[in-house]
Symmetry: none
Subunit: 179 residues, 4 copies
C-alpha cells in the first residue's frame, strides 16, 4: 500500500470511529484493524493517538467551515443565510449517521490540561462566530453574531441530549425573531 493510501486509510477510519464511538471508546487496535494497516504504520504517521485526534478535528473543522459557508452563500440576504444555516443543521440531525457535533462531543471527552485540543474546538467555534459576523455585517447587526452562535450551539447540544428535532426548530424560531 502506498504511503499516502496508508495515511488516508488511518485518518478516515479513525475519523469515522472517533465520531461514531467517541475518542476514548476507540482503541488504536480497532483503528488499524478496520483500516487494514500495521500498528507501527500508524505510529509512523502519528506520534500518538492524540495526534490522530488533532488531525481529525482539523479536517472536520475545515469541512464544517466550508459546508457552512456554502450554505450561507446559497442565499443572498443575511436573514436567509442565517435561517438556511439552521435548516442545514436540521437536515444534518435527520441523517442516519448523525451523532452530534464533532467538536462538542470531543470537548467533554478530552482530559483537561490539553490546551491544543481545547484550542482546536474553541477555534472552530470562533470560526462560526466570525461567519455570523460576516453575514450580518452588510446589515450592521454584527452584535447579534454571538447570539446566533449561541443558538447554533444550543441547537447542537440540546438535540444531542434530547434526541429530538424540536431544539433546532426552536433555535431557528429564536433566530428569526432576533433578526
Amino acid at each position: 500500500m502506498k504511503r499516502n493510501q496508508v495515511r488516508n486509510q488511518i485518518v478516515e477510519t479513525a475519523s469515522r470511529l472517533f465520531y461514531k464511538q467517541g475518542y476514548n471508546a476507540t482503541g488504536v487496535n480497532q483503528i488499524i484493524e478496520e483500516a487494514g494497516v500495521a500498528k507501527a504504520s500508524l505510529y509512523q504517521h502519528f506520534h500518538s493517538k492524540e495526534d490522530l485526534l488533532v488531525e481529525y478535528l482539523t479536517i472536520k473543522g475545515t469541512e464544517t467551515d466550508n459546508a457552512l459557508r456554502a450554505v450561507a452563500d446559497s442565499h443572498r440576504e443575511p436573514k436567509g443565510k442565517v435561517l438556511a444555516i439552521f435548516d442545514f443543521l436540521a437536515s444534518l440531525m435527520g441523517q442516519q449517521e448523525y451523532y452530534g457535533c464533532n467538536f462538542l462531543n470531543i470537548s467533554s471527552e478530552i482530559p483537561t490540561g490539553t490546551p491544543r485540543l481545547t484550542e482546536l474546538v474553541k477555534k472552530q467555534k470562533d470560526n462560526v462566530r466570525a461567519m455570523f459576523r460576516e453575514i450580518l455585517k452588510p446589515v450592521h447587526k454584527e452584535k447579534l453574531a454571538d447570539e446566533l452562535y449561541m443558538l447554533f450551539d444550543a441547537a447542537l447540544i440540546t438535540n444531542k441530549v434530547h434526541g429530538d428535532a424540536w431544539p433546532v426548530k426552536t433555535a431557528r424560531k429564536m433566530a428569526e425573531k432576533i433578526l
Copy 2:
C-alpha cells in the same frame, strides 16, 4: 474505617473525580485510593463503576434542581426569577472548581447504548424545562420555556468551550429580550 462512612467517602470521592477529570479518565483504583477504602468495599456498594456514575448523576441532579429552585424562589416576578438563574450560572462559572455542567459533560462521554445514563441526563434537563414553564405560568408565557432552557444550555456549553464569561452574559441579555 467506620461502617457507613465508607459509602459516603466513595460517593464523594467519585463525584469529585468524575466531575473534575471525567468518567473515563477516572479509574476505580484512583477512587478507592483517594477515598481510603478497599476495592471490594466499592463493589459491595455499587455493582459496577457505571452504577457509581448513576449515583453521582442522581445526587447532582437533585442538588441542581434544589439550587435552581432556591434561586428562583428568592425572586417574586417571573422575569426576576429567570434573570436570577442566569446570574446564578454566572456565579457558578466564576468559581475555582467549576468544570462545566455535570450532565452535559457526561453526555458526550458515555457510550451510546446505555439508555439509563442518557435518560438521566435528559430527565435532568427536562426538569430545567419544567422549572422555566412553572416560572412563566403566572404570566402565561409557558411557550417561552424551551427558549429559555436553550439559552440556559447554550450558556453552559459555550462557556465550557470558550472558557470565558461572555456567553452567560449574552444568554442573560437574550433572555431579558425575549421576556
Copy 3:
C-alpha cells in the same frame, strides 16, 4: 432462623451447587444468597469453604453407601446384586439432574496437597470395593471385587466424558461376563 436450620440450609445449598457447578465455580456469596443466610453465619458453622466441601463429601458418602447397599440388598444372589448396581448407575445417569459422580468430580478439581480431601474420595471408593467384596464373599469370588469396582468407576467416568448411556451398558456386560 434456628441454628440448625441455618446450618442445614447452608449444607443443602452448598451441596446442590458444588454438585451442579463444581467446587471452584461456586462462590460463598452464591451459597449464602441462595441459602438465605448471612455470610458470617456460614463461617460460624464452617471455618472455611473447604470445610463445607468436607461436609458435602461426607454426607454424600454416607448417602451413596446406603443407596448402593439398599440396591444390593434388594437382590438375593451375588450376581443379581452386582448387576442391579450397574442398573442403578444407569438409572442415575438418566436423571435430569445427574452431573456425574460427586467424588470423581471433586477429585480432579481439588488442589493437590489437600490430603483430607483426597482421602475422603479414596475412602468412599474403598467402601465400594468393600461392598463388592462382601457381595462376592458367599460365592468365594472376592478377588473379582476390584475388577467390578473398576468397571463401576469406568462407567462413571466414561459416561461423564461421552455424555451417553453406552458406557454403563458396556460395563454391565463386562461385569456379567466376568462373574
Copy 4:
C-alpha cells in the same frame, strides 16, 4: 525476549502448570511470571486463558495419540499391542511428575456450557477407542474395543483416586482375560 520463543514459553509454562496444579488453580499471573513474558504478550497470542487451555489440550492430544500408537506399533500381535498399552500406562504412572490423565483431569474442572472443551476431551477419548478398534480389526474383535477403552480409563481414574499401582495391574489382567 526473542520473538517466537515467547509463544513457546507461554505454552510450555501453561501446560506444565495446568497439568500440575489444574486449570482453575493456575492464574495468568503465575504463567507469565514463570514464563518470563509480559501479560499483554500472552493475550497477543491467545484471546483468553481458555484459548490457552484449548492449545494445551490440543497439543497433549496429539502427543498422547502419537505415544500410544508408537507403543502399539512396537508389537506385532493385537494382544501384545493392547497389553503394551497398559504397560505403558503403568510406566507413566510410575513417573515422578505424573498427575493423572490430562484430559480426565480437565474434564471435571471445566464448567458445563463450554462445548469446545468437553468436545476436545471426548474427541481425544474417541481416538483411543478408534485405536483399540484398529488394533483388534485383524483378529475381528472390534466389538471389544470399547471394553478395552473402558479399562484404559478405569486404570487412569482409579490410579488417580487411590494413588497406587494396583489399578493398572488389575486393568491389564482384565484386558488379558477378555482378549
